[in-house]
């Protein structure tokens, strides 16, 4: 709050007074609307930042609609049905965002707990509300901080239960999906490199560091620090890029390294 200018602080106060929202929420809404109060109200009311009341009976009904006949969880068939109802492709990345809200442990299944608490957090208790929230969930991917959380969540979610690392094919699929939303020009080269040279599972450290790499190092590699603590695989990737002249080598001789 202290870093804001006077007028902005006033706006935050006003917003909080009118909507009854918390300071954090107010800041978010105002930032998203470029500090226009009217716009901020729009943003706020179209998004369920506050826990709207959700009817538990409806939630139970929804759950039973998708629940598997034998196990007390939602499995593949249930999920396919859900996607149909939502008019969303099962491979759509929005399902990942949904899983993230639910804090789902693993892909292609939702426990009852995960399903219900996730929907509650999103303020959904009917299918119409569910369909409305889809757009909102998609927009969350544009937020840097949330994208990072979703990206890191994806590792644990996509890997096999009991394994420490993520199978290469799954990883590549996930990367293609994620970086379609949040562009990284080198993603294809990265996937090719892995298939050609690595052919093993991906560790959590490599997964999370890759996002940092994509975020901080520019595609010409001009600010890549070879002496840095990048995972070994990323160093190899850089070498691969240089060997195949995908990136201009001259940047590597930067004495500022």
């Amino acid at each position: 709050m202290n870093k804001l200018g006077r007028s902005n602080r006033d706006k935050v106060q006003q917003f909080m007074a009118i909507t009854g929202a918390s300071e954090k929420v107010a800041l978010q809404a105002l930032k998203a609307s470029d500090w226009h109060l009217e716009g901020a109200f729009d943003v706020f009311y179209s998004q369920p930042h506050i826990r709207t009341y959700t009817d538990t009976r409806h939630l139970e009904e929804l759950y039973h609609r998708y629940k598997d006949s034998y196990a007390d969880m939602i499995l593949v068939d249930g999920i396919t049905l859900l996607c149909n109802d939502l008019q969303v492709d099962p491979q759509d990345i929005v399902m990942l965002v949904l899983s993230w809200h639910m804090k789902a442990a693993t892909m292609c299944e939702f426990s009852k707990q995960e399903f219900i608490s996730g929907l509650q957090a999103l303020g959904i208790d009917t299918l119409e509300k569910f369909r409305e929230r889809i757009q909102y969930m998609r927009s969350e991917l544009k937020d840097d901080q949330k994208f990072r959380e979703i990206y890191n969540f994806a590792f644990g979610w996509a890997k096999e239960k009991g394994q420490k690392s993520l199978a290469l094919d799954t990883a590549i699929g996930m990367w293609q999906l994620l970086f379609a939303e949040n562009q990284w020009p080198l993603v294809d080269h990265w996937c090719q490199f892995l298939q050609a040279r690595h052919n093993k599972a991906i560790s959590r450290d490599t997964w999370s560091q890759l996002l940092e790499f994509a975020r901080t190092v520019d595609p010409t590699l001009s600010n890549y620090d070879a002496e840095g603590a990048w995972p070994y695989l990323i160093d190899e990737f850089v070498e691969y890029l240089n060997e195949n002249n995908i990136v201009q080598k001259s940047h590597m001789d930067d004495p500022a390294r």
């Binding site: 450290d205 560091q209 002496e227």
Partner: protein, 693 residues
């Protein structure tokens, strides 16, 4: 005149008169006589006049001593002798000093050109400069010394510029040394001692500093050439001269280092060429050429250590240069074998029977000493240790060690150089053998006390402590029935000694003495246990196929091929092979060769050992991974939080005694430790690591 009260106290007048009289005398007599003379004559006159003056001052001061005691003290005036000398200075010295100076300097220059001059005269003149200061050196320094230094610098600068073009480096250095000597001499004879360091510095600067790089780099006679031609005397001179100028030795040390590196690298290349012209099948064996290479490196080392000690007077800069040079080429392998392996093989050759029996004990000790010194330059010390250990094992187990004392001696030397941890396993191995002998004695006692536990064959067992010895794969060889009994008997015996130990039998290391009843004559064959087992199969069948042998023995193809080859295609053909080709094929058949004979009654049939090189390198790599892991954990445990660069640096330092860890390897281990939850990256700074308790 002085003791009365004023106005009858004439002290002041007396004092003034005293001075006046000097002034008068000087102006009237001394100066004119000096003015009319020149050069050397003037100098002589000056000396004479100064001498006179001093005498006068002394005597007159004595006459008027009363003034000195009372008048001067009361009025804080300069004492009488000072007055007298000051007169001379103000009147004579100040007028003539420049002329005198120039005259002196020109005489000095003449002497430099080789002429004889009157040194005593110069000494006296320069004494004047000193004495005229009355305790201070200012006059000497400002009025004479400064000009002398300037002139000397100019003089030598001229000389140097012509010498550098005409003379070779050694000749120039000789001249330079001579000049310095002469200047020093000059100081001793007539210059003031305080001039020595300043004068020599100027001369050194003009002769050496200015032309240092030109001198050193002279094409046919510069430093490189001198080293090449082993001109020890000239190099010593070079050292003496260059050690005097600031940073003078750095370029010399550099050239020395380059030279040694070049020589060493040439040796490597030579050996490499010799090795690549070897026959194809012998490529993996460390051959004679490589041994010659090691010997040559030792000789090179000896030569240049002598240089450092003698020519370069044990200077640290040169020790460092030598060390760095050796580190460059000592880490280059030859013919596919690393330098660590070469060195280990070299030691093996010295220590094994038949290796160096011609050398005296002293010579062997010396050579071992030198080998250990070379080890200091090799970065993969752990690789050397492993190769050495493997070869030591062979020597000990097959009784190939020539001399126990030498074995222990080299271990002591290695321990001194590389620490106890380096040699602990090897020492354990040597001890094991001693214990094994005792064990064998008790076994024999046991046998004599229990006649029913008779194995039927003379059996000697060597029990090894697993941790000390290299790891050996043990195959489940199907022993012949006779040997099975032996194993049983020993096992029982061993149970009586210790209940908690497990015995694993390594048949691949055993030897066997077999009596072969051949038609010509009966012979004793010394073979390995594997070979013996194969031969004993022929007690029950005359003819066996390859696959039958393999099945019955339960060994791998590699082992079977090797052992059959040694029995049928090598020097002694104990078995006949069908077809009679030079190599073993799985379709071959074998028969006992009853007609075999040799002029000896007892022959040894060697089974060439498997090449251990790959395994050793693999083992060492594995050990290194553990070592890096342990080092990283150790560092992080004590630091808790550390940046990537620093962690890598400390790791390299910690492990440097045994090997030079690869950055990539360290990075991989760090990542592995992250996956195993020993470390984590800091949330905000991915270049920082935290220790997870």
């Amino acid at each position: 005149m002085c003791t009365q009260k004023p106005p009858h106290d004439y002290s002041q007048q007396l004092y003034d008169k005293y001075r006046e009289s000097f002034e008068d005398y000087i102006t009237s007599t001394v100066l004119p006589s000096l003015r009319e003379k020149h050069d050397e004559f003037m100098l002589k006159e000056l000396v004479k006049r100064w001498g006179n003056h001093k005498v006068m001052v002394r005597w007159l001061s004595r006459f008027f001593y009363y003034l000195d005691r009372y008048f001067i003290a009361r009025r804080s005036l300069p004492p009488l002798n000072e007055v007298g000398l000051t007169c001379f200075r103000e009147l004579v010295y100040q007028e003539l000093k420049v002329k005198v100076r120039d005259a002196v300097i020109s005489l000095i220059d003449q002497e430099r050109e080789g002429e004889q001059i009157d040194r005593a005269l110069l000494k006296n003149i320069l004494d004047i400069f000193v004495e005229i200061g009355m305790g201070q050196m200012d006059y000497y320094e400002n009025d004479f010394e400064a000009a002398l230094l300037k002139d000397s610098a100019a003089y030598y600068s001229r000389k140097a510029s012509s010498w550098i073009l005409d003379d070779s480096c050694p000749d120039y250095m000789l001249k330079a040394e001579e000049c310095l000597k002469r200047e020093k001499d000059r100081v001793a004879h007539y210059l003031h001692s305080s001039s020595e360091s300043k004068l020599l510095e100027k001369v050194q600067h003009e002769l050496l500093s200015v032309y240092a790089s030109q001198l050193l780099e002279k094409e046919h006679s510069g430093c490189h050439a001198l080293l090449r031609d082993d001109k020890v005397g000239d190099l010593s001179r070079m050292f003496r001269l260059f050690s005097k100028i600031p940073k003078g030795l750095d370029p010399v040390a550099n050239i020395f280092k380059q030279h040694v590196t070049a020589e060493g690298t040439a040796l490597v290349k030579q050996a490499e060429e010799a090795a690549s012209s070897k026959k194809g099948d012998k490529k993996d064996v460390v051959g004679l050429q490589e041994q010659v290479f090691v010997r040559k490196v030792i000789e090179l080392h000896d030569k240049y250590v002598a240089y450092v000690n003698d020519c370069f007077q044990n200077h640290t800069l040169f020790h460092k240069a030598l060390k760095e040079a050796f580190e460059v080429f000592c880490n280059k392998g030859v013919g596919g074998s690393s330098s660590a392996e070469l060195l280990a093989t070299f030691c093996d050759n010295i220590l094994k029977k038949g290796g160096s029996e011609k050398l005296s004990d002293e010579a062997i000790e010396e050579t071992l000493e030198k080998v250990v010194k070379l080890l200091a330059y090799i970065s993969d010390k752990d690789l050397f240790a492993e190769f050495y250990r493997k070869k030591l094992a062979r020597r000990l187990l097959f009784d190939k060690s020539a001399n126990d004392d030498h074995e222990r001696s080299i271990l002591t030397k290695l321990k001194q150089q590389c620490g106890g941890q380096f040699t602990s396993k090897m020492e354990g191995m040597v001890t094991d053998l001693t214990l094994a002998k005792e064990n064998q004695t008790s076994f024999e006692e046991y046998l004599s006390n229990n006649t029913n536990a008779n194995p039927g064959i003379d059996l000697t067992v060597t029990v090894l402590t697993t941790g000390f010895w290299p790891s050996y794969k043990s195959f489940d060889l199907n022993l012949p029935a006779e040997m099975v009994k032996c194993v049983e008997v020993f096992r029982e015996f061993y149970q009586t000694k210790t209940k908690h130990r497990k015995l694993t039998w390594i048949y691949s290391l055993g030897t066997c003495n077999i009596i072969g009843k051949f038609e010509p004559k009966t012979m004793e064959l010394i073979v390995t246990t594997y070979q013996a087992s194969a031969l004993l199969l022929f007690n029950s069948s005359d003819r066996l196929s390859y696959s039958e042998i393999m099945t019955q023995l339960n060994l791998t193809d590699d082992d079977v091929v090797r052992l059959l080859h040694s029995l049928s295609c090598a020097k002694y053909k104990i078995l006949n092979k069908e077809p009679n080709t030079k190599t073993i094929a799985p379709t071959d058949h074998f028969e006992f060769n009853s007609k075999f004979t040799d002029k000896m009654r007892r022959i040894k049939i060697p089974l060439p050992p498997v090449d251990e090189k790959k395994k050793v390198i693999e083992d060492v790599d594995k050990d290194r991974r553990y070592a890096i892991d342990a080092s990283i954990v150790r560092i992080m445990k004590s630091r808790k939080v550390l940046g990537h660069q620093q962690l890598v640096m400390e790791c390299v330092e910690q492990l440097g005694r045994m090997f030079k860890p690869d950055f990539k390897a360290i990075k991989k281990r760090i990542e592995d430790l992250i996956t195993r939850d020993y470390l984590e990256r800091d949330k905000d700074n991915p270049n920082l690591f935290r220790y997870l308790a």
